[in-house]
Symmetry: none
Subunit: 418 residues, 2 copies
């Protein structure tokens, strides 16, 4: 069963504000089996809103339509009027709603509401009014031919508030979106993974779909279906079993876990501790590691050694090493990783040094050159990378690669030797 989302607001179509409502609704509608077929954004412009409504109303597959925005008290808020017009219904004044607006104003602003708030007390004839305790704009639900039309305010917090209420009014459906599986792997390219996986995906049931999503060196592989049936479940289980066998060292997540969460779980399981010494990544690695709740049990400390003096003072990098090889070198990455491990008394040390740009590059050492070292009692591994992108992208790729190296090393079996 299909749904559609229509978000009304010039602030979105002009890029002033980034959408949250459609994102929220898309996720939750999918979860209850009402798959958004179209998500459409239009400016606060009468004819354009009308055209969008017409397009969505014409689509026979769409059985529920969610409209957000344009319910405010100002002149550019047109949703109420246009929806009523398209539905061929007149707007009715709801006295109780007006009293609520008056009370809301008195309570929050200690004044009477301005006269232009009055239009918020109107809804199309025959609609169900949805009370809004968070603001003055109520929502409403209308029927149109075989469709249910849900109209709610565009404030993200209010959309979130209304969702559980909307849910009780959804048309009954037997769909179950079967977010069969989503696995994330690191250290393997998207098309390499697809190529190697393809032979295992023969005779894919019709209703089961696959998707590959690259994410900064990770590959997210989805199996999903618009139907949940024994064949789909069985097939999914087989594919996941195969992935677990073949890509075990690279598989770091089933469902949403991040690479830092996967590393954290392994560090905790193995009772290992870690410290970081970052130059070009500027603290992003320690930020990511400490985003994980409970990380204080394994992450002891991080150094952001931006200047050469900081590298010398804090980790004890010999200045001769810096002058001989330069701060961005395999040798310094190794010394940072080993140094921070010893200095911090942790099992593992990570050292990152590179050139995030936009300036500071040379022919021998271009922007994007990054060395990453991982040190533990058994050995120290340094890898060289050449990333392209702007400063922030190079920082992200640096930490992605550091976490990938860490994950693969942990999978290979670093042991707690204490």
């Amino acid at each position: 069963m299909k749904s559609a989302i229509l978000c009304i607001g010039t602030e979105i179509t002009t890029g002033l504000v980034r959408d949250l409502n459609a994102y929220f609704l898309a996720f939750h509608l999918t979860s209850v089996g009402l798959f958004p077929k179209f998500i459409l954004f239009v400016p606060d412009h009468k004819e354009t809103i009308g055209r969008a409504l017409q397009f969505l109303f014409e689509d026979g597959e769409i059985q529920s339509l969610f409209i957000t925005g344009g319910l405010g008290p100002t002149q550019d808020d047109l949703t109420r009027e246009i929806v009523a017009e398209v539905l061929g219904k007149k707007l009715c004044f709801i006295p109780e709603q007006w009293e609520k607006i008056v009370r809301f104003y008195q309570k929050i602003r200690h004044t009477q509401p301005p006269e232009n708030n009055r239009k918020q007390a109107f809804i199309p004839e025959g609609s169900i009014l949805l009370e809004n305790p968070l603001g003055t704009a109520p929502g409403f639900i209308s029927d149109f031919q075989n469709k249910k039309i849900f109209v709610i305010p565009g404030v993200p917090k209010e959309t979130e508030y209304f969702w559980p209420i909307l849910k009780t009014h959804l048309p009954p459906n037997d769909n179950q979106f079967y977010r069969s599986e989503m696995v994330k792997i690191c250290g393997v390219g998207e098309s390499q993974f697809e190529n190697e996986l393809q032979p295992f995906l023969s005779s894919l049931p019709d209703t089961l779909q696959t998707a590959y999503l690259p994410y900064f060196g990770e590959v997210w592989f989805y199996l999903y279906s618009y139907q949940k049936n024994p064949q789909v479940i069985q097939y999914t289980e087989n594919v996941i079993k195969k992935i677990k066998e073949v890509w075990k060292p690279y598989l770091f997540s089933q469902w949403g876990n991040t690479l830092e969460q996967a590393c954290g779980a392994l560090l905790m399981e193995k009772h290992l501790t870690i410290a970081t010494a970052e130059s070009c990544s500027g603290g992003l690695l320690s930020h990511r590691l400490t985003n994980v709740p409970g990380s204080s049990s394994y992450f002891y400390r991080g150094y952001v050694v931006y200047s050469n003096q900081a590298k010398i003072d804090t980790i004890g990098i010999p200045s001769s090493l810096l002058s001989q090889h330069g701060a961005v070198s395999e040798e310094v990455a190794q010394a940072l990783a080993e140094g921070v491990r010893v200095k911090s008394g942790t099992d593992i040390g990570i050292g990152i040094t590179g050139i995030a740009g936009p300036s500071g590059g040379s022919e021998q050492k271009p922007v994007g050159l990054v060395y990453i070292g991982i040190s533990h009692s058994q050995h120290t591994q340094v890898k060289k990378y050449l990333f392209s992108g702007d400063r922030e992208v190079i920082k992200i790729f640096s930490t992605q690669s550091a976490l990938t190296q860490l994950f693969l090393e942990l999978q290979r079996g670093i042991h707690n030797e204490r």
Copy 2:
């Protein structure tokens, strides 16, 4: 002149991933006067993509159409084929593009590309190929009746990369969206700012619109108009002049600059240097400070002192202070700020200590309690905060507050005394 944006990808319509491309394009298209009339998201589903293209092609007002996503090498990437079909053109193999993919693979992965990458070397007949140095999927530009069709990959960084190139191919137009102004202030609440600004906004011209957007303690205030005329310009100038007079110490940005960029600019202007000692924010502050190009000239180093031992070892916090007041205390924030300044030989030191949660809170010291100290040669200021939200939100608010304190202190006039 109107444009439209079509984003293709089931990951968006199912709410797995939050859109960035349409947001980016909407902002930039608006800036050059190509107002998006529709922004449409569809899943990777052949008929649905076809239906969306038909809807947008039928609209006589839309003169340029921007399509992102679905250009990858995998089977669910359908954009290339469907666009060619709808345009009534056949796909042509571009040998130079295939050679580029081969070289890209050899350079990054040291292997030959898999055979399924070959489809990325095809574009519709008569299209202009847009080279993509960031990945294997090129973009292309096609003409269809009176419309220009721009097709680019769905990876947000690649969309950003392509924009300046697309710009050189845009149809000429005389529209001018007048984003009159956007100012950002910190250290003043949204409704306080709105209330105090209101008296200066009387007799707002009809075509000029205002918007307030709260962003983690910042307030972004917009003045914008679909028409650029002398009245709008004059009015805007007056309002901005007033804001600059009344909120000068809090105004950190006109147009997009971030708080860390504003702080960076002041540090550079005043020839001041800085170091950080972070506990609960876990490195996010140094990450943000080092996101600014050129920050290595003022940011010397950062310490992420997650464990008590790290606070003692690296900054020299007396263990008696920790046992007497606890790690999350005004005293420790002060000692961190002062200690890191002295230890690093910088003009300014920032110390952050708090409880990011979800665990670790108590009745006296709940989750969200954060102390932030800023130290310079003239004095050390510590502020206490109680944030609500999850771990990541508390980290963000901690760094927002630290940067706000820093900005306000720099505005008040910290001097370089060396």
